[in-house]
């Protein structure tokens, strides 16, 4: 499973990425998780399964969806509270839920 997190510069989401990687490791989930800026997202569309958008750039959701959905990528906005508390486990669950649902 490949998950990409998007925020404006890819900086604050990269903090969450580390937490999610830890969560994935302890749960034994095989996942590649990365953060990127919105501008660079185009280079990451291949082989990605889930794109999660930082709540502060949630206005980009519809634009990103039209780009990503033809690739069969699930797109969602990260729950603001999980984002703020940098809860890697919950956000990982959110991503898993998207793939199952």
């Amino acid at each position: 499973m490949k998950i990409i997190l998007v925020c404006s510069a890819g900086m604050s989401t990269s903090m969450l990425v580390q937490k999610m990687r830890k969560a994935a490791e302890s749960k034994g989930v095989a996942a590649t998780i990365d953060a990127t800026s919105e501008a660079d997202l185009g280079n990451h569309l291949d082989s990605t399964n889930v794109i999660l958008i930082g709540p502060q750039v949630r206005y980009l959701a519809s634009k990103i969806k039209t780009k990503a959905e033809p690739h069969g990528i699930q797109v969602d906005i990260i729950n603001p509270m999980y984002y703020g508390t940098m809860n890697g486990e919950k956000v990982l669950e959110q991503a898993q839920g998207l793939l199952e649902g």
Binding site: S12, Q56, V57, Y59, K63, P80, G84
Partner: protein, 426 residues
């Protein structure tokens, strides 16, 4: 209060969202982001050349001779001094890519068009006067117009198509041929008309009629307050304010810091350069620890707050906060949509804008003369943006203290409510 917030969320925020995702504005913003590394290198070159330490200057002269500054000057010529050309290429590239047409072709045609419009010096040189920030508006407008034309033309039937089996590179270059020709002829005609009719250039016209008036407006205290207010209002509703207003910020304020910097490079003291309000002004003196000067809020939490939740958020947020990244505080505390935090979160930046403005305008603190990454930690950033002055750090410390004092009663109140709720549940 909650009714006002609901109306804002329903009416105002979608508009902000549309601005934040509008194709041309996004291209402008991303274009500026792309050239930022060059701009920052150019800026550091000037800063090092003019570092206000006699020991350092003597050391460099002793080591490399009197000419050591020419390296920094050369770097400046290749970065800040051709800002307009660089950004025309990057905006054009980004805009074309967003339409999924060939970005590099569009960028090349944009640069060519901009050069056509740029005045030529007597000895047949491109005029540096207009390739930099002074020609920024024309560069941005030109990039947008040329790229739109390019897109329309390349998607029309006016292209030369190659038979199958011809290599893709050849196909691409021929495909761009007719659009390039049409665009360059149009721009060339425009330039000829301007020369014949008014003996002027588009640069001159746009600079005098739009850019110059906007620049003096940008440098005023009311404008600075409005920017601080808008940014934080957007953030309060959980939208990336800095990101949304970025295209306007860069177009309006890059010319100001460029002017300050080029004068500083020429030997003017940082006190005597013209512009007070610049992007580094906001980044270093107002957004201490990120929008809302939340590094002060973190300190305030450590001082007076008991609630475990607030303390853990403060702890979690401190490392990133030192680099002015503060989403954890904004969303985790939360500040976003939290009525108790609304007043200090909006008030602090406005107060800091005012104190910084007067500290500089009254001549206590030098003006900003360097463009550094916005993620440069506070207190280091104050020293650098002021051209290597401790007074910049002093202003940051004063602002940091003021912000902490404003946050204290509010976070205490929020803590009180939080603890009471906990006790009730308990």
């Amino acid at each position: 209060m909650s009714k006002v917030m609901q109306v804002m969320e329903e009416k105002f925020m979608p508009i902000a969202g549309r601005i934040g995702s509008q194709r041309h504005l996004v291209a402008i913003r991303d274009g500026f982001i792309m050239i930022m590394p060059l701009i920052i290198v150019g800026s550091l070159a000037v800063l090092i050349n003019n570092f206000p330490s006699e020991a350092f200057q003597n050391f460099m002269i002793g080591l490399f001779g009197e000419q050591w500054k020419s390296v920094g000057g050369n770097i400046w010529n290749g970065s800040f001094a051709i800002l307009g050309l660089l950004v025309a290429a990057s905006i054009s590239y980004k805009l074309a890519s967003s339409y999924e047409v060939d970005g590099l072709s569009a960028a090349l045609i944009s640069v060519a068009s901009l050069i056509i419009l740029t005045p030529v010096t007597k000895d047949w040189g491109i005029s540096y006067e207009w390739t930099g920030a002074q020609g920024l508006f024309v560069a941005v407008i030109m990039a947008l117009v040329v790229t739109e034309l390019f897109r329309v033309l390349i998607k029309s039937k006016l292209t030369i198509n190659m038979p199958e089996g011809v290599p893709e590179g050849v196909v691409k270059s021929f495909k761009a041929l007719l659009p390039a020709m049409i665009i360059l002829i149009l721009v060339g005609l425009l330039q000829a008309l301007l020369t014949v009719l008014g003996n002027t250039s588009l640069h001159q016209i746009v600079f005098e009629s739009i850019q110059k008036p906007l620049q003096s407006l940008s440098n005023s205290l009311p404008t600075a307050i409005i920017i601080a207010f808008l940014n934080h209002l957007l953030w309060f509703f959980g939208l990336h304010g800095t990101n949304i207003i970025e295209p306007f910020m860069e177009s309006m304020y890059l010319p100001l810091i460029e002017k300050n910097q080029s004068l500083f490079a020429a030997g003017t003291s940082a006190f005597d350069v013209p512009y007070i309000v610049t992007k580094p002004f906001f980044d270093s003196y107002v957004y201490i620890g990120g929008s809302g000067a939340t590094l002060s809020l973190i300190l305030a939490i450590f001082i007076v707050v008991k609630s475990a939740h607030y303390r853990s958020i403060a702890k979690l947020s401190s490392p990133a906060g030192l680099f002015n990244i503060n989403e954890p505080v904004l969303f985790g505390l939360p500040i976003v949509l939290n009525p108790v935090m609304f007043i200090p979160f909006i008030l602090v930046p406005i107060v800091l804008t005012i104190t910084s403005y007067f500290a500089i305008s009254l001549g206590f603190v030098p003006k900003t003369v360097a463009m550094i990454p916005w993620s440069t930690p506070p207190f280091i950033s104050g020293y650098l943006v002021s051209g290597g002055s401790w007074l910049g750090v002093v202003l940051q410390i004063i602002n940091f203290t003021i912000a902490t004092l404003i946050y204290l009663p509010f976070i205490k109140a929020a803590d009180f409510v939080q603890m009471k709720n906990l006790n009730k549940v308990g």
